[in-house]
């Protein structure tokens, strides 16, 4: 079988499978934002945005956008029944205070210890921190969703970050278009590979050594 990396939609769908009924979840920009579209039916997941709402619904229909109701990426959103609104200090009490169960963030690099870099390009004078540092350290479980390598094929899963740090030892699980990898006290544990990918193929694009889970599986993005 030809190695077939996941599409971004498939990647978002795979992440969504790991969200459980009743969880409170914060989604970062990019691929993570898409995750909310694919929560499996029957699961009630409450999405949090750091700019002050819990209980986000689907994107508004065209023409129904409200400029006073946006997510952290400035995209218009809607509220579900049960939603609540609050100010920024209360919002970050939710993340910093370990009330949010899961955050899914994008990343420029993740280290084998679970260190995260996602706010500033190496060598740049400016970067947008936003809420990433607060969220990375404060939620109960931090997921990263990203492409496995840069578009020039460089490692993004590295032994040591050389991009500016967002948070140390905070990432628990990495979802890429090629693999699902857990960060464990013993290093990176390869749990799933994309269809057609061998362990070796994933290892080749991953700088740190991967331990292979005894029950390694092919990534599925539907139930």
């Amino acid at each position: 079988m030809i190695p077939t990396p996941l599409t971004k939609e498939q990647l978002a769908r795979r992440v969504a499978l790991d969200l459980r009924d009743g969880q409170y979840v914060n989604l970062g920009f990019g691929i993570p934002t898409e995750v909310s579209n694919y929560v499996p039916p029957g699961r009630e997941v409450v999405f949090h945005i750091e700019n002050g709402a819990l209980g986000l619904g689907p994107a508004p229909a065209p023409g129904q956008e409200d400029p006073e109701l946006v997510n952290a990426g400035e995209q218009p959103v809607t509220l579900l029944p049960g939603a609540s609104l609050f100010h920024h200090a209360d919002s970050f009490a939710m993340t910093r205070g370990h009330h949010v169960d899961i955050a899914v963030l994008g990343a420029m690099q993740v280290s084998e210890r679970g260190d995260l870099a996602n706010w500033k390009v190496k060598g740049a004078d400016l970067g947008g921190i936003g809420g990433a540092m607060d969220i990375a350290l404060g939620v109960k479980r931090l997921f990263v969703a990203m492409l496995h390598t840069t578009n020039r094929g460089e490692y993004k899963i590295v032994k040591q970050l050389d991009y500016p740090v967002t948070g140390l030892a905070c990432v628990k699980r990495i979802f890429t278009d090629m693999a699902v990898i857990d960060v464990t006290p013993d290093g990176l544990l390869l749990r799933e590979v994309a269809p057609g990918f061998s362990v070796e193929a994933v290892q080749q694009v991953t700088e740190p050594r991967l331990t292979v889970a005894p029950d390694i599986q092919t990534i599925r993005w539907t139930l």
């Binding site: 409450v46 949090h48 049960g82 910093r96």
Partner: protein, 222 residues
């Protein structure tokens, strides 16, 4: 489906364990979770660390828990109030420990506990007994004390109305410590007068978002 509503008040408090830190909402009789107090009394957990504005009074609520010797330590701002003899007797008999803290500092320590803030500097208490053993440090010429966050294993709170997600609104000064205690406990149990359908509470007016609440019990279900 999220449903935080529990069937009985006894079930709501069943897992409160010996030695747990429990935050008790209420101030001056308003916003006190009386049915949860009664259930905790029946439940039997002991050697609790209680966090509350006062030590309760008369023959109900916290005062009874204290009188029955179930609280090993109190953190509060009013250890001496009229009708608070239950506490005074236990204290003077050496059967309960006490950490007195100014009311605003108590509120801020609880909010810090719920917000992931480890500690903070406040001018309150400088030059008083409250400063004993605490770090003193000046900021912009103002001497301040270092005060540490308070977190609870459980919070027993009272609200007016809830939905199944645990969103809460309160009644007047019954709000008091309840919203910040909801933030600061691993398990927050809210005793409410009324439960409404999801979506009936206006998102703009919810005081405690459901993320801070684990269980809801309607009064009168005991």
């Amino acid at each position: 489906m999220i449903n935080k509503i529990v069937a009985s008040v006894d079930e709501a408090v069943a897992d409160i364990f010996d030695g747990a830190t429990v935050l008790f909402g209420g101030f001056g009789g308003a916003g006190e979770p009386q049915e949860l107090f009664a259930a905790l009394l029946r439940q039997g957990a002991k050697n609790l660390v209680g966090v509350s504005n006062s030590i309760g009074k008369g023959d109900k609520g916290l005062a009874v828990l204290i009188g029955e010797g179930r609280i090993g330590k109190m953190i509060c701002s009013f250890p001496l109030i009229k009708g608070g003899e239950a506490f005074q007797q236990q204290y003077r008999a050496g059967r309960i420990a006490l950490e007195t803290t100014p009311q605003g500092t108590l509120a801020e320590r609880i909010r810090a506990g719920g917000s992931g803030i480890a500690a903070f500097y406040t001018p309150t208490g400088v030059g008083t007994e409250m400063a004993e053993g605490k770090e003193l440090r000046e900021f912009d010429g103002v001497p301040c004390l270092l005060e540490k966050a308070i977190k609870g294993d459980f919070a027993l709170i009272r609200a007016r109305c809830a939905d199944r997600w645990g969103n809460l609104v309160y009644a007047k000064t019954g709000r008091n410590f309840n919203p910040i205690m909801a933030m600061a406990a691993k398990v927050t149990i809210a005793e409410v007068d009324e439960i409404v359908e999801l979506g009936e509470l206006d998102p703009e007016t919810i005081v405690t978002p459901g993320i801070f609440v684990q269980r809801v019990i309607k009064r009168g279900r005991a």
